[in-house]
Protein backbone atom coordinates (compact mmCIF):
# COMPACT_ATOMS: atom_id res chain seq x y z
CA UNK A 1 0.00 0.00 0.00
CA UNK A 2 1.50 3.36 -1.06
CA UNK A 3 0.75 6.42 1.04
CA UNK A 4 2.39 9.80 1.39
CA UNK A 5 4.84 10.07 4.31
CA UNK A 6 2.91 11.32 7.33
CA UNK A 7 3.64 14.57 9.09
CA UNK A 8 4.87 14.28 12.66
CA UNK A 9 1.63 15.55 14.28
CA UNK A 10 -0.47 13.09 12.27
CA UNK A 11 1.90 10.22 13.05
CA UNK A 12 1.78 11.07 16.76
CA UNK A 13 -2.04 11.25 16.72
CA UNK A 14 -2.24 7.84 15.02
CA UNK A 15 0.25 6.36 17.49
CA UNK A 16 -1.81 7.75 20.33
CA UNK A 17 -4.97 6.15 18.96
CA UNK A 18 -3.16 2.87 18.18
CA UNK A 19 -2.99 2.08 21.87
CA UNK A 20 -6.63 2.78 22.73
CA UNK A 21 -9.56 5.01 21.71
CA UNK A 22 -9.13 8.56 23.02
CA UNK A 23 -10.94 11.88 23.01
CA UNK A 24 -9.37 15.17 21.91
CA UNK A 25 -7.91 16.32 25.23
CA UNK A 26 -6.50 12.86 25.93
CA UNK A 27 -4.82 12.78 22.50
CA UNK A 28 -3.18 16.18 23.10
CA UNK A 29 -1.84 15.09 26.48
CA UNK A 30 -0.66 11.71 25.18
CA UNK A 31 1.18 13.26 22.23
CA UNK A 32 2.90 15.71 24.57
CA UNK A 33 3.89 12.86 26.89
CA UNK A 34 5.07 10.57 24.07
CA UNK A 35 7.34 13.26 22.67
CA UNK A 36 8.55 14.35 26.13
CA UNK A 37 7.07 17.80 25.59
CA UNK A 38 8.68 18.33 22.18
CA UNK A 39 5.44 18.10 20.18
CA UNK A 40 2.64 20.22 21.63
CA UNK A 41 -0.37 20.34 19.32
CA UNK A 42 -2.83 23.20 19.32
CA UNK A 43 -6.54 22.44 19.29
CA UNK A 44 -6.81 23.81 15.74
CA UNK A 45 -4.05 21.50 14.49
CA UNK A 46 -5.52 18.48 16.27
CA UNK A 47 -9.04 18.88 14.95
CA UNK A 48 -7.81 19.72 11.43
CA UNK A 49 -5.89 16.44 11.44
CA UNK A 50 -8.81 14.52 12.94
CA UNK A 51 -11.16 15.86 10.26
CA UNK A 52 -8.79 14.73 7.48
CA UNK A 53 -8.29 11.32 9.09
CA UNK A 54 -12.07 10.90 9.44
CA UNK A 55 -12.56 11.90 5.79
CA UNK A 56 -9.93 9.40 4.67
CA UNK A 57 -11.45 6.69 6.86
CA UNK A 58 -8.28 6.20 8.90
CA UNK A 59 -10.12 6.83 12.17
CA UNK A 60 -13.73 6.66 13.27
CA UNK A 61 -15.86 7.99 16.08
CA UNK A 62 -16.45 5.56 18.88
CA UNK A 63 -20.16 5.05 19.48
CA UNK A 64 -20.76 5.78 23.14
CA UNK A 65 -23.97 6.27 25.01
CA UNK A 66 -24.41 8.99 27.64
CA UNK A 67 -21.29 10.84 26.51
CA UNK A 68 -21.37 14.57 25.74
CA UNK A 69 -20.23 15.71 22.31
CA UNK A 70 -17.18 17.30 23.92
CA UNK A 71 -15.99 13.90 25.13
CA UNK A 72 -16.28 12.21 21.74
CA UNK A 73 -13.67 9.44 21.42
CA UNK A 74 -11.90 8.32 18.27
CA UNK A 75 -10.29 5.04 17.32
CA UNK A 76 -8.20 3.69 14.44
CA UNK A 77 -9.98 1.86 11.66
CA UNK A 78 -8.53 -1.22 9.98
CA UNK A 79 -7.32 1.00 7.16
CA UNK A 80 -5.72 3.48 9.57
CA UNK A 81 -3.89 0.70 11.38
CA UNK A 82 -2.58 -0.74 8.08
CA UNK A 83 -1.37 2.69 6.94
CA UNK A 84 0.26 3.34 10.31
CA UNK A 85 2.05 -0.02 10.07
CA UNK A 86 3.20 0.88 6.56
CA UNK A 87 4.56 4.22 7.81
CA UNK A 88 6.35 2.58 10.75
CA UNK A 89 7.99 0.09 8.36
CA UNK A 90 9.07 2.97 6.12
CA UNK A 91 10.61 4.77 9.08
CA UNK A 92 12.34 1.53 10.23
CA UNK A 93 13.88 1.13 6.79
CA UNK A 94 14.98 4.76 6.80
CA UNK A 95 16.53 4.45 10.27
CA UNK A 96 18.38 1.25 9.30
CA UNK A 97 19.72 2.98 6.19
CA UNK A 98 20.78 6.01 8.22
CA UNK A 99 22.65 3.80 10.72
CA UNK A 100 24.46 2.00 7.91
CA UNK A 101 25.45 5.25 6.21
CA UNK A 102 26.68 6.83 9.43
CA UNK A 103 28.59 3.67 10.38
CA UNK A 104 30.20 3.53 6.92
CA UNK A 105 31.24 7.19 7.19
CA UNK A 106 32.74 6.68 10.67
CA UNK A 107 34.70 3.57 9.63
Amino acid sequence: METMPLTEPVLMILLSLAEQPRHGYSILKDVEEMSAGRVVLSTGTLYGALRRLLDDDWIERLEQKDISRGKQSYRLTQRGRKNLQFEVNRLKHLTRLAHLRIAWKES
Binding site: T43, G44, G48, R51
Partner: protein
Amino acid sequence: MLTIYRRLLWLYPKTYRREFQEEMAEVLGQLHADSSKTCLLARFRFYVRESAGLIAGALRETWHQSVMRRFTVGNNFRFPKATWILMTLILAGVISAIRKGEAISVSLPHDNPAIGPIHPANTVMSGWVMSVLIMYAVGLVVGGVFFLVRRTKLGQMSGEN
Protein backbone atom coordinates in the same frame (compact mmCIF):
# COMPACT_ATOMS: atom_id res chain seq x y z
CA MET B 1 -9.61 34.23 27.02
CA LEU B 2 -12.18 31.49 26.47
CA THR B 3 -14.50 34.07 24.93
CA ILE B 4 -11.79 34.96 22.41
CA TYR B 5 -11.34 31.27 21.53
CA ARG B 6 -15.07 30.87 21.06
CA ARG B 7 -15.08 33.89 18.75
CA LEU B 8 -12.14 32.47 16.80
CA LEU B 9 -14.10 29.25 16.35
CA TRP B 10 -16.64 31.28 14.38
CA LEU B 11 -13.98 31.75 11.70
CA TYR B 12 -14.42 28.08 10.78
CA PRO B 13 -16.90 27.05 8.05
CA LYS B 14 -20.41 26.27 9.22
CA THR B 15 -20.30 22.54 8.44
CA TYR B 16 -17.02 22.18 10.31
CA ARG B 17 -18.40 24.06 13.30
CA ARG B 18 -21.46 21.85 13.39
CA GLU B 19 -19.20 18.82 13.61
CA PHE B 20 -16.38 19.97 15.91
CA GLN B 21 -17.19 23.28 17.63
CA GLU B 22 -18.55 21.75 20.83
CA GLU B 23 -15.63 19.36 21.14
CA MET B 24 -13.05 22.02 20.42
CA ALA B 25 -14.61 24.41 22.93
CA GLU B 26 -14.53 21.72 25.61
CA VAL B 27 -10.89 20.83 24.89
CA LEU B 28 -9.93 24.52 24.88
CA GLY B 29 -11.67 24.90 28.24
CA GLN B 30 -9.72 21.98 29.71
CA LEU B 31 -6.42 23.25 28.31
CA HIS B 32 -7.17 26.74 29.60
CA ALA B 33 -7.81 25.34 33.07
CA ASP B 34 -4.47 23.49 32.90
CA SER B 35 -2.61 26.58 31.71
CA SER B 36 -3.94 28.69 34.59
CA LYS B 37 -1.78 26.58 36.91
CA THR B 38 1.43 27.32 34.98
CA CYS B 39 3.81 30.31 35.02
CA LEU B 40 3.16 33.50 33.09
CA LEU B 41 5.53 32.64 30.21
CA ALA B 42 3.98 29.20 29.72
CA ARG B 43 0.52 30.77 29.76
CA PHE B 44 1.57 33.35 27.17
CA ARG B 45 2.97 30.61 24.92
CA PHE B 46 -0.27 28.68 25.32
CA TYR B 47 -2.39 31.70 24.30
CA VAL B 48 -0.22 32.38 21.25
CA ARG B 49 -0.15 28.71 20.19
CA GLU B 50 -3.89 28.21 20.52
CA SER B 51 -4.82 31.50 18.83
CA ALA B 52 -2.42 30.90 15.93
CA GLY B 53 -3.59 27.27 15.67
CA LEU B 54 -7.24 28.31 15.51
CA ILE B 55 -6.65 31.01 12.89
CA ALA B 56 -4.46 28.73 10.74
CA GLY B 57 -6.99 25.90 11.15
CA ALA B 58 -9.87 28.16 10.14
CA LEU B 59 -8.02 29.31 7.02
CA ARG B 60 -7.12 25.72 6.11
CA GLU B 61 -10.68 24.47 6.57
CA THR B 62 -12.17 27.39 4.65
CA TRP B 63 -9.76 26.72 1.80
CA HIS B 64 -10.54 23.02 1.92
CA GLN B 65 -14.29 23.51 1.89
CA SER B 66 -14.43 26.28 -0.71
CA VAL B 67 -11.87 24.98 -3.18
CA MET B 68 -10.95 21.35 -2.65
CA ARG B 69 -14.46 19.96 -2.16
CA ARG B 70 -15.70 21.80 -5.24
CA PHE B 71 -13.34 19.74 -7.38
CA THR B 72 -13.85 16.46 -5.57
CA VAL B 73 -16.10 14.11 -7.50
CA GLY B 74 -17.79 11.35 -5.56
CA ASN B 75 -17.20 7.67 -6.34
CA ASN B 76 -20.80 7.22 -7.46
CA PHE B 77 -20.61 10.08 -9.95
CA ARG B 78 -21.68 9.27 -13.52
CA PHE B 79 -21.73 11.55 -16.54
CA PRO B 80 -25.27 12.31 -17.76
CA LYS B 81 -26.45 10.90 -21.09
CA ALA B 82 -26.48 14.41 -22.61
CA THR B 83 -22.72 14.72 -21.96
CA TRP B 84 -22.01 11.45 -23.72
CA ILE B 85 -24.11 12.60 -26.72
CA LEU B 86 -22.36 15.98 -26.80
CA MET B 87 -18.93 14.39 -26.57
CA THR B 88 -19.82 11.89 -29.30
CA LEU B 89 -21.00 14.74 -31.56
CA ILE B 90 -17.76 16.66 -30.97
CA LEU B 91 -15.71 13.53 -31.71
CA ALA B 92 -17.75 12.89 -34.87
CA GLY B 93 -17.17 16.51 -35.96
CA VAL B 94 -13.41 16.20 -35.44
CA ILE B 95 -13.25 12.87 -37.34
CA SER B 96 -15.36 14.31 -40.16
CA ALA B 97 -13.07 17.38 -40.44
CA ILE B 98 -9.99 15.13 -40.60
CA ARG B 99 -11.60 12.95 -43.33
CA LYS B 100 -12.56 16.04 -45.33
CA GLY B 101 -9.03 17.40 -45.09
CA GLU B 102 -7.61 14.09 -46.27
CA ALA B 103 -10.08 14.00 -49.19
CA ILE B 104 -9.06 17.53 -50.26
CA SER B 105 -5.36 16.68 -50.08
CA VAL B 106 -5.92 13.52 -52.21
CA SER B 107 -8.04 15.38 -54.79
CA LEU B 108 -5.32 17.99 -55.42
CA PRO B 109 -2.96 17.15 -58.28
CA HIS B 110 0.56 16.36 -57.11
CA ASP B 111 2.27 18.36 -59.82
CA ASN B 112 0.96 21.76 -58.72
CA PRO B 113 3.07 24.60 -59.93
CA ALA B 114 5.08 26.10 -57.16
CA ILE B 115 3.44 29.26 -55.92
CA GLY B 116 4.70 31.82 -53.50
CA PRO B 117 3.21 32.61 -50.12
CA ILE B 118 -0.32 33.98 -50.26
CA HIS B 119 -0.88 37.27 -48.47
CA PRO B 120 -4.61 37.87 -48.09
CA ALA B 121 -5.83 41.34 -47.24
CA ASN B 122 -6.16 42.10 -43.46
CA THR B 123 -4.21 38.95 -42.50
CA VAL B 124 -3.57 40.03 -38.89
CA MET B 125 -7.11 41.25 -38.26
CA SER B 126 -8.88 38.21 -39.72
CA GLY B 127 -6.45 35.90 -37.91
CA TRP B 128 -7.31 37.54 -34.60
CA VAL B 129 -11.03 37.47 -35.32
CA MET B 130 -10.85 33.80 -36.27
CA SER B 131 -8.86 32.96 -33.14
CA VAL B 132 -11.36 34.77 -30.93
CA LEU B 133 -14.28 33.05 -32.64
CA ILE B 134 -12.66 29.63 -32.30
CA MET B 135 -11.82 30.24 -28.64
CA TYR B 136 -15.36 31.49 -28.04
CA ALA B 137 -16.82 28.37 -29.65
CA VAL B 138 -14.49 26.09 -27.65
CA GLY B 139 -15.39 28.01 -24.49
CA LEU B 140 -19.10 27.57 -25.20
CA VAL B 141 -18.71 23.81 -25.71
CA VAL B 142 -16.55 23.35 -22.59
CA GLY B 143 -18.89 25.61 -20.59
CA GLY B 144 -21.85 23.58 -21.76
CA VAL B 145 -20.20 20.34 -20.68
CA PHE B 146 -19.30 21.80 -17.25
CA PHE B 147 -22.83 23.17 -16.86
CA LEU B 148 -24.33 19.76 -17.55
CA VAL B 149 -21.88 18.05 -15.21
CA ARG B 150 -22.55 20.58 -12.44
CA ARG B 151 -26.31 20.36 -12.88
CA THR B 152 -26.21 16.59 -12.69
CA LYS B 153 -23.96 16.68 -9.63
CA LEU B 154 -26.29 19.14 -7.88
CA GLY B 155 -29.26 16.99 -8.84
CA GLN B 156 -27.56 13.93 -7.38
CA MET B 157 -26.68 15.79 -4.19
CA SER B 158 -30.22 17.05 -3.73
CA GLY B 159 -31.45 13.53 -4.47
CA GLU B 160 -29.14 12.15 -1.77
CA ASN B 161 -30.43 14.72 0.71
